[in-house]
Symmetry: C2
Subunit: 210 residues, 2 copies
């Protein structure tokens, strides 16, 4: 059943439907592949309005990934959703430190969240990074502090945690900052959205138009 | 920043906000923890309307997991999102066959999707299963065929693929079937939603009320 269409064709048709339903809404052509891939991942057209891009955010993310930047995520789920093969083609790797026992121990000892300590681990990588946060507002807030302290300087921050407590505020920190960012304003987002944005940038880096 | 609240408190506050915003909408009390956890995961209140439960679906899922049922997902992302510790407490394991090389080879040889072949692998486990599908409509459609052929008899099907092509139709197959199911009617869903429903059932199985 449904086996007569290849997955690639399904993707193409899906993007065609998304374009059709967007109708006369004009998307920034550089941002459009990212926005459409998020809609493809969520079937939620709210992201047309929610997604905010700092100046040349897409270009900067694509450039960084092409140059071999690594991706750090706040959850294993976001990491699982990233196309690691596409990332490896440019020399990058995907990291997530949330499940490290040492991170858990340190978080407990200091009375902070594991998500927060995991961002310090990202800072200690000392590699060009795209940091993608789909879940933990404390990760995004700690990342912001680390950028202010000059301890990390991400090529791009994908700030799309989802939720009801501290999420909106954590996103606003980056929306008002100079750090290159793609942020889903408001409550919506998720690990799936974080991974979708990473993949959209990777596909652009690889020359795909979708 | 934001470090004064523990993650458990954030979850409690989030659920309180969700309840407040639901206002006078009355949820089925047995289904409510599942619906609320999906909203918690997506910040999307559409799931109040979208989620369809067959008779006693929650009770059946909880019972199965308590009795040590395993969970099979269609994506690594959904598997990554499942609380494996909670699952292991009852003796269950989480499987995903999509990345198996043998599955890829067989799918290519037969001209079908890997997702579809991965469901046949699930059938060959011959163990009590909760099957959670958050991405591939072909997985859901093949699973339906396998149930019709008597080759698999899941304790519960969580049918929440997301997307624009074949997704609605694949879900309708289960909505009209006798197989116990929780289905997100329409286009919405996702690996995050699949994992959230699994976790909601696991927490209920463990006696948590959230």
């Amino acid at each position: 059943m449904f086996e007569t269409i290849l997955p690639e064709e399904i993707e193409q048709r899906s993007f065609a439907i998304i374009e059709e339903e967007l109708g006369e809404q004009v998307l920034n052509p550089v941002q459009a592949p990212v926005i459409k891939r998020v809609i493809h991942t969520t079937a939620d057209f709210d992201y047309v309005e929610n997604l905010c891009f700092s100046e040349q955010a897409v270009e900067k993310g694509v450039r960084a990934l092409k140059d071999g930047a690594c991706i750090v995520t706040d959850t294993e789920m976001a990491r699982a959703g990233i196309n690691k093969r596409a990332l490896a083609r440019f020399g990058g790797e995907a990291f997530c430190f949330i499940s490290d026992e040492e991170v858990a121990r340190e978080a407990k000892a200091r009375g902070v969240t594991r998500a927060s300590v995991s961002m310090e681990r990202a800072a200690s990588l000392h590699r060009p990074l795209v940091v993608a946060i789909g879940n933990a507002p404390t990760a995004l807030a700690r990342l912001y502090e680390l950028t202010r302290e000059g301890k990390i300087s991400p090529e791009l921050v994908i700030g799309v945690p989802v939720g009801f407590v501290h999420v909106v505020e954590a996103k606003e920190l980056f929306l008002q900052s100079e750090v290159p960012h793609i942020v889903a304003r408001g409550r919506k987002g998720g690990s799936n959205v974080a991974a979708a944005i990473c993949n959209a940038l990777l596909y652009l880096a690889g020359g795909r138009t979708l």
